[in-house]
Subunit: 479 residues, 2 copies
């Protein structure tokens, strides 16, 4: 952090903790120069940042004042998907999202991309460049099918933090978490089979079900504690479910982490019905609190959990370094991995292994989770300020994704169309449903450093939503 | 090439062209020193190399003499696979092959790895290292689903050499050719469907059929002109074939390139029966002759050919940079690509694109195909010398793979087991069949520079085969 960012951050914390209350006049520039031992321009810059993010306002000749938060935060409600197996649709919407993530003329407020500018990633870039300069032929050869042993050793070591005891041979590296999920699902189920999923659910997984002719059975999910075990149990009694696919830690898109006891109970339930669990843990290392939440895999005593993850959300998605610990399904998963891409790229695995081994990864996680937590609070502040009354918002315990549920009448696919003129795009909730439910919801990404530009964009989203609500109400009143 | 390699190469060429005949005494060391203007030790080293590869022998106090080739080369016969749709087996054998390609204690004589030591690859390593040093965040972000435009532009340009006219938008990049083949097959066919293949056929493709519950219909194939169109036509009349999968140029494992007229006819046949063709062209750029052979895709006027390739055989497999031109099946293939790995790694694509754009790729191909051609002739010499009479050998027109058909009674899976003690492994022919046929055949790789070690290893293979034949004959005589 630069000096002015530190000053801004300290003031933000004081506002957050109520030291300065809404409407209070904040200390003068001169007072802050003295307190922090910094220049006038540094304090001015700090105040400018707080203005940008709508925490304070400057009143001519009076100084800076704490702005009010508009409404108290309201959490989204328990989801109520259609509780029968469904074919998955929504590919057009997903394609619009993933077709061109690099279009720099569009501000992607809803994507799944982490912050790639973090200085704690620099050593990884150096390692990658160095390996390419120094590597012999072996580094450019096919990797063993299971992946590079160096990386699997480090992954095995990392997973102890989430309560696992894995041997490197229990792990296969993959081309991103997407390949891990795809081969897990294909190893377990074929056309017509039913997979139970938490709902809303990552669209990448839903599209795997679609591509394999599988049906999704979406289970009601609590925005704070995850998939309803009661509903899941009923579903297991009623339908021939081949696998349960969940993201129990730092859930995408809802942000919750399932309580430990509930995780244990979910594994027991799967054992009772003898069904496999595919655990997407790709955001798990981004939990804000310590200790690192346990995985379902850590409660798995008979190898039925296929733990899937990658370094795409913690480090860099463009490296495509993922992994899977497939438990008792290892042989089938290895076959699916072979036919899917042969081997994964060699040198990125070695670079990530060295990055982890030298302690850079843990250092990076400490920094980046602090940063994401700050960004979450800033984004929540913006939403409280600029979004219509009745907006419900998740309160993520990790990662960098926010889920919003809008008042009745809002259609977020329509919202995206309206935002196109402003070169802004959000992720409509319907992406996260097999059948396009949750059109009243949207996902926002707070990974990148908040700027005046993003503040303006979020404000535009909020104002567009308010306008849509007004139209909706006018239409209802007239009809 | 070093100086002594140049001298050795020139002598080899003269022997090849009959300037020095079998039993001839070769020029003295002194004479060659004068002719080439090199030192005594250089000529000695050159002769040592020719001895290593069994082209010449030194007789004490007499000089060097041209060694005889043992038997005239015999080509493998037309293949006769079971002409009904079969489930694919052989995964155990394939796994033994791909499980640990990097085991340096085993000499892999049968793998599919190109020469990674070629100096013409150095610029690619520099480009890769440089990109990692210099890249901004964008280089580490998710790539667009279709892949990087820079690479697709270069691929489109390269394919003009094989008679194609592709736009960058007609191409998607993939994680190696394996992913291209996997998503092509999955876009076209589902469990129970039948895919016709040339036979023998790349094991990676056969295993894709297995993983998807598809059946392989293996079509008789001529070792010099490829898949039998007569047999294919009968099969198309008899069975509900969903796709034809072939490797018509620099075939793996047989080494042939289908004649152009036959390629055209194959496309017409597919049109007549309205069936898609999956064309594996991964070795096509390694054809020895000019002009570059045309692809089936170049005769495809209604978009039914899905052209699959990669830079794994021409550059480095560990980069996992492949591509597909899926014709009219683009949308389904894009969906399969998305669910398979999301996006492919970004920076390797940019590095390969720059390597091609700057002319390094064409330069590399010129060098490496000359090298492979030399290696082919050396390996053929070894086989003529050390393998049992009755061995039939392919005569590849490109790439770096040789196919051998052994006299009756030889089992190459058994051969591999016997070679294990010598830390040598070949690729048994049964890998290349859905049902484990071709156990009397094997594939050898001649990509790496021939050394005394590889000569010894090939000799060991030949002698082991001779011993097996003797045992077999003794057993038959006694029974």
């Amino acid at each position: 952090m630069t000096r002015y960012e530190q000053v801004a951050e300290e003031l933000r914390r004081r506002i957050e903790h109520g030291l300065y209350r809404v409407g209070d006049r904040l200390p003068s520039i001169r007072a802050l120069c003295q307190e922090f031992g910094v220049s006038v321009s540094t304090v001015q810059e700090a105040y400018r940042r707080l203005e940008d993010v709508a925490l304070v306002e400057s009143r001519p000749k009076s100084g800076f004042f704490v702005l009010p938060r508009q409404v108290p935060t309201q959490l989204p409600t328990m989801t109520r998907p259609a509780q029968r197996p469904l074919d998955v649709s929504q590919w057009d919407q997903v394609l619009a999202m993933v077709g061109s993530p690099g279009d720099e003329t569009v501000l992607m407020l809803g994507g799944g991309i982490p912050d790639l500018e973090s200085p704690t990633l620099k050593p990884l870039q150096r390692l990658l460049g160095g390996l390419h300069r120094g590597s012999g032929a072996q580094g450019y050869n096919y990797d063993p099918l299971a992946g590079s042993l160096e990386l699997r050793r480090q992954v095995a070591r990392l997973t102890t933090a989430s309560g696992c005891l894995l041997h490197p041979d229990d792990i296969l590296t993959t081309t991103g978490c997407q390949e891990a999920l795809a081969i897990a699902i294909r190893a377990l189920a074929g056309p017509g089979d039913v997979v139970a999923v938490d709902s809303p659910s990552f669209y990448g997984t839903l599209q795997i079900l679609k591509a394999n002719g599988l049906k999704a059975l979406e289970i009601p999910t609590d925005p704070q504690t995850g998939i309803s075990l009661e509903a899941l149990e009923l579903a297991l009694e009623q339908w021939p479910i081949r696998a349960i696919q969940v993201t129990p830690t730092c859930n995408n898109p809802l942000g919750y982490t399932m309580p430990e006891a509930k995780k244990r109970e979910l594994v027991r339930l799967a054992q009772r019905f003898d069904v496999a669990i595919i655990e997407d843990d790709v955001y798990g290392d981004l939990a804000y609190g310590l200790p690192r939440p346990r995985t379902l895999k850590s409660f798995d005593d008979d190898g039925r959990v296929l733990l899937c993850s990658s370094f795409s959300k913690t480090l860099m998605p463009g490296l495509r370094v993922g992994w899977i610990a497939p438990g008792r399904y290892r042989d089938r998963v290895a076959h699916m991995k072979y036919v899917s891409t042969g081997a994964s790229a060699t040198l990125p695995q070695l670079a990530v292994a060295a990055f982890v081994e030298r302690g850079h990864y843990e250092r990076h996680l400490r920094e980046i989770t602090r940063q994401y937590q700050r960004h979450r609070d800033i984004l929540l502040g913006w939403i409280e300020r600029w979004f219509p009354t009745g907006t419900a918002v998740s309160y993520p315990q990790g990662s960098f994704l926010l889920w919003l549920e809008m008042p009745a009448g809002i259609d977020c696919v329509d919202l995206n169309a309206r935002l196109a003129a402003s070169r802004i795009r959000i992720a409509p909730g319907s992406l996260f449903s097999a059948s396009g439910k949750y059109r009243d919801c949207l996902r926002l990404n707070y990974a990148p450093r908040p700027t005046a530009d993003t503040a303006r964009a979020v404000r535009t989203v909020g104002e567009t939503l308010s306008a849509m609500l007004d139209e909706e109400r006018a239409w209802q009143a007239s009809s």
